[in-house]
Symmetry: C2
Subunit: 268 residues, 2 copies
């Protein structure tokens, strides 16, 4: 079993040092409870609702979240997956790092940008890698990336066991009826887990930035597609034991199999 924690942080646009401190405190809390994988939200260093690229670049000056997360990961000898904004030259990227015992195994750049991100971030051009980490085969996607089933298939075909998804799910899209238990963003994630028989760990946001609120839907989804741990409203975390070997068994009936049943000859 692998103990995975999703740490739904209350972050604030513009105050990067405070955000980093917040993430370090959450890492301490869940690591001391035995978390072997700690998942933080998308853009956990910067917050989300920037007016423009210049404002974001300015706010990131003289900060190094990645180094501080590496130090924590080394201290606890665990895995930290965190979303962060990173400046390179005159560009800013929306990224997610997989850090294992202090070592960076993967820096993934978000490919599918959401709404105003398009004016701020430069999109990535590489599909997610499957990383052989100390706990198993993991990949990271970011937020809206998860809504493209063809994209999710890429690490799945490469035998990923757990997809880790830092996200900032803003409220107010997909016209959710009040009677529905889950937002459509989560329904899509559940379908992705079941369609591929993989674990998915999502770390969403809480709090409010410049009028934008979040779905607060951080969760762990099992390979049958069901949320087995949900953080719920407010700042907090969920810790869940995962049997990653469940993701190896792609059978879904005595005669059906996630991979063998695909008809690649017909998917154009």
């Amino acid at each position: 079993m692998v103990k995975v924690a999703v740490a739904q942080a209350h972050l604030q646009v513009g105050d990067v040092p405070a955000n980093i401190l917040k993430t370090l405190n959450l890492i301490d809390t869940v690591s001391n409870l035995g978390a072997q994988v700690v998942v933080l939200p998308e853009l956990a260093n910067s917050g989300y609702v920037y007016q423009n690229k210049q404002e974001l670049i300015k706010s990131l000056e003289n900060t190094d979240a990645l180094q501080m997360w590496q130090d924590k990961s080394k201290q606890y000898q665990n895995i930290i997956v965190a979303g962060f904004a990173q400046v390179e030259g005159d560009k800013v990227y929306n990224r997610s790092a997989i850090i294992d015992s202090g070592k960076i195994l993967e820096i993934y750049t978000k490919v599918h940008l959401w709404d105003k991100e398009i004016g701020i971030f430069t999109a990535g051009n590489k599909a997610p890698k499957v990383v052989n980490s100390s706990i198993g085969k993991i990949s990271t996607l970011i937020c809206y990336d998860l809504e493209f089933p063809e994209y999710v298939r890429i690490p799945v075909i490469a035998n990923v066991e757990l997809i880790v998804v830092p996200t900032n799910w803003p409220k107010g899209f997909y016209n959710r009826p009040t009677k529905e238990n889950y937002p459509m963003e989560l329904i899509k994630a559940m379908a992705a887990a079941a369609t591929n028989k993989i674990w998915i760990a999502i770390c969403d946001r809480t709090g409010e930035e410049r009028g934008v609120q979040w779905l607060e839907s951080s969760c762990v989804i099992n390979p049958d597609g069901w949320p087995v741990a949900l953080v719920g409203p407010g700042e907090g975390y969920a810790i869940q034991d995962l049997d990653l070997s469940l993701a190896h068994d792609k059978a879904i009936s005595p005669s059906n199999h996630i991979f063998n049943d695909r008809r690649n000859d017909l998917y154009k």
Copy 2:
């Protein structure tokens, strides 16, 4: 607006004439209520739980469901989409017909076969066509076909407005927790509708055949992914007015678009 009915029939393995009569009665009922599209379950002529191919072929002798559905469609000048077993030589196919005012517009053969179907039916080799019907652009898939997102994309990219899905969803798969509102089969369908911004009309089964029960989850799902009409337990139907033009608008935020956001360069 287009009035669509899903007619969740109680069918019985082995008694094809009784099954056909049942479907004709349901067609009468919903057509007299103004249904412009009538959707019947998968294998609506034959029932489902056959021991082997020979038993199924024998039960289909001297019956012609297709002709009787054509007559009804001509009589009501509406569209009937029905699943049926069809014998050709020594093979049997699991098919769905789109019949418009008596005329057959499409005969689709199920590509992704479920469980024991594999020993009985020959799988199809063609992706679904988008048919220009009297009410708009429609396609039909059958049951398990809907669980392959790459496959659903094919009619979507060809601008389908409504996907019509005759299905027999057997109970007991995907380990559904009792607290969950919807079965995973339906969750996947909801995700498919929202991911593609299309209407989906699903006609499931009721009753019991040789110990197999059904999810009784016939429904109409809107382009935001939410079920707007559900039949519920037992034999019955749901009728729903659909604005098919909603499927033309692929925008999901001021800057995001189902088609434009796809990164075909990365989906291998």
